[in-house]
Subunit: 302 residues, 4 copies
């Protein structure tokens, strides 16, 4: 089913239980010991995976990216800092996430530029798709699954954050990276005895349009909040495109909201304002959103 959606049957698909596991296995299976992976500083592998990439032996070359998106210039910066072989690591892979950890998405022309640059410079391009559903169903998206299969060397389609109980589907498009991949799954503890638990999740998500329906609902819920906030005159840390939005609110309002809702204060903007992180899911009910909107409007009025 997945191959059909990807419009390509010459690719290998492996299922693992979660995103950290997928990232760790993909990166360790591809890189030689002295090779590194380039990532936005907000990249999930760089901050939120307890050092799993370093634990399998590889340096992450991180670059500050205010909107969570890595661009060709960022990669060039890293490459220019790693000329003194063999005293430095050798960057060999580019890690991007879509949607990003800041809720933004890549556009097709951006992805083409990255892909071309990577091919020309001998770098593998890998997309962490833990949040791929929300990216592909964003109102601003112009990328298809077929595009991904053509422009990336390897990526995964996230089930866990899109309605599945567990499971990510790793897609290997570059023939060089296919050989012996399942040894890595076994060695890292990812090969399940009853792998059908994972397969069933994806069979259900992809036998019809469920994968996309769930992501579309998820995004709509966040966008409804975003519209209210925009109407109220609030800015955002990044453009609200998916189910993660980062509005910049007065600290007074944040304090009121914290009494009723659970969310992260992401970043202090100045002495009066901070950005917060709001995330919706496939299971978020519109009535809950409406309550939050009411709280914002009333809190804001005061």
């Amino acid at each position: 089913m997945i191959k059909k959606h990807l419009g390509n049957s010459n690719l290998d698909i492996h299922f693992v239980s979660g995103g950290t596991q997928a990232n760790m296995i993909i990166i360790s299976s591809i890189l030689r010991p002295y090779e590194s992976v380039i990532s936005a500083d907000s990249g999930h592998i760089n901050i939120h995976e307890a050092g799993s990439i370093e634990a399998v032996g590889h340096k992450i070359n991180s670059v500050p990216c205010s909107d969570g998106k890595l661009r060709v210039e960022d990669i060039e910066t890293i490459l220019s800092q790693h000329k003194e072989a063999p005293h430095v690591v050798k960057p060999k892979m580019v890690y991007i996430s879509n949607s990003t950890e800041l809720g933004t998405i890549y556009k097709l022309d951006e992805l083409i530029k990255l892909s071309n640059f990577c091919k020309k410079n001998g770098l593998y391009l890998f997309m962490d798709g833990a949040r791929l559903g929300s990216a592909l169903c964003s109102k601003n998206n112009d990328i298809s699954l077929e595009n991904l299969a053509r422009l990336l060397d390897i990526f995964y389609i996230g089930g866990t954050k899109n309605g599945a109980l567990l499971g990510e589907a790793i897609v290997i498009t570059n023939d060089e990276l296919k050989k012996d991949f399942s040894y890595n799954l076994k060695q890292k503890g990812a090969l399940m005895s009853k792998g059908r638990v994972l397969g069933l999740q994806f069979a259900t998500l992809f036998e019809d349009n469920l994968f996309f329906d769930l992501a579309t609902h998820t995004n709509l819920m966040a966008q409804k909040i975003a519209k209210t906030l925009q109407k109220c005159g609030f800015n955002f840390l990044c453009e609200p495109e998916t189910n993660q939005i980062f509005p910049i609110l007065p600290n007074m309002l944040i304090k009121k909201l914290e009494k009723k809702y659970s969310f992260y204060v992401w970043k202090k903007i100045n002495k009066d304002f901070s950005a917060i992180r709001l995330v919706t899911s496939w299971a978020t009910k519109e009535s809950a959103i409406d309550k939050l909107i009411a709280s914002i409007e009333s809190g804001h009025d005061i």
Copy 2:
């Protein structure tokens, strides 16, 4: 529920998805880089986990054990070979599995001897309980869950091989080993976003006697085959105690059985006989067993 079964509330429990993952995380979380783990040569970590223990940096000191069970003398042998510090690794942990990879089980007095020896020699005692259900429900068993909590430093209760879709419950009894354990789960990709998937498996297995009922059935099915084979005059590689049995059969009979059944030929015994491995599960139906028995009897008669 598990703590109640263990008769001890001063212990930490963590859930992971499978046995290789459990072994890798437990061993890497406890040992310093130069420390090693002692195992029977048939130990699952030594052969069937694609080098996962070495991949996290540790040597396995393996000892030949004809019945899969490690004894104090085996540990002494390894210790005596590792006196020349710092040129050799420092053995620091003992790994045993129960039931073992050869279907045998530890008796209480054996476990007490191992435990005392380990305590005296500064070694951690770790039990791989992927097949713990079948061990505890063996007709020969005299060990209780309470015994395990008292005699071991750390162990796990296997769900995957005892009816669960996935899941092993790691039990830490030694206070020294509890600190920061969940960092290791996250770093090795084992911390699931929706951990309730794992918790539910164990809630179901332990809310009543289901865990033990399933294991009892599993063992009975294998024992029924064993009795027939014994009646036919066949020997076994090890005593048939659980749901894995290793009868020694004439190659002629093995060839006939292979046409209808799927099993491993485990070991060549002589030019006419080989040991095979038969495994039953919680889902094995008695009617299937009866068919196999009929095949053996008729194949043997000829």
Copy 3:
């Protein structure tokens, strides 16, 4: 001899062949798998050791430090970003180099502040002393070897960059870190069969004042250049305190110098000026310095 210089006999000393080896062994012997080390972004371990720290499994939390020196505020920043256990690494060690990779040195009050903060926060304080000679012999230095033995948990005294053919002397002052250290040396390939090669270097450096005499000469040579450059009105990236200086020169002058001398262009400052890196050694002859000074003055005149 070294213990006498350190004014303390309750410490362990181990010799290794070079700085990368010392850093890798020290860090991997101390940290648990999920623990990380905090470093200035210019830290040698972060850039110039081909990923050796990551290769032994640990993340480096790097902080931008314009003069190469890490301060308490920098550590606080990192700690504040790592509150979400177990999703993030656990910072457990602070790495500083003295003199730094930018030629600057720590003052006693700065080191006391770092030491107190680390003790209070359960962090180990480790000093990379590959360039310790040049630091201790800087005109601005007010730190003694005795201070180091009191304020640091572990550090090393660099021989390779201070006249020895090879060799760094690792000094462990914290009792917790002493146990089994030599296993780590052996495992990482650092335990030499003929260790006297290393011991002799340090016996020679410390039997009299040679270690300090060589470093003093080294610094003097660089300071002579620095004075000329200051006289000519040039600025520096950081204060020139040791044998590494980073003058900011007109690109025109740099081009002329490159024809006769070998050095790195360190950093572009603006379209007309760049900082270069000049390093002197124990073997640098004053006549060579005088030639360079003449070149600068004549190049500058034009």
Copy 4:
């Protein structure tokens, strides 16, 4: 000079400080994470390197070899035990040492058989030559340095155990293994700032016949002891071919010798006899040997 001795200029040579370092770097630079190395159980990497190969992530598949020499049948045994991909490691390299840890040497026909088998089975053949000098200068040797360059994928020539203060020369003959090798040197702490220390050792050993002269003397000293022991009617654990010999002596005699000489008791043979390990070096004086011989003869007489 080394290339001339090897009769081949199309090979890469790298110097490192010692044998454990050489083994660790060679093996980790070649193998993928799930690949393993096959070794005799007496192999130096398997016992005497504090788990350094496992610390860089790889399993050693060890085989009992009574004389320390690995044969094609041993490799076949390991391969036959590793068919169940991906549950087992994938053996990809064969490690042999020459002379072995039991003082024995490979003959040319044995090496040709190993080389052919490895080529046919996609295995890399690597020779640990820490004791290569003593092997090539054994009275039984029929292998030349040229043979090694043709039959092996990678090997090293040991300086440390053959008169040098430190240093092993790694020789890469297989083009596939040459790329980026120096990154591995740097990352593992083996790239010395003053690499001339290593180069000079080998320049001295190979500018004339010194390398071979030292090894010849070393062997002669051990052979002189061996002849006396044979004359006295003693047997050996393995044939005494190089500078390590393992005579089987009465425990009574061993006790007497222990009062005057320092050596290992290697192995208990029966209740009255044990094998001991005697090793000579380039610096062993004939007068010392004569004293030992006198002690043996007089001890034996009594």
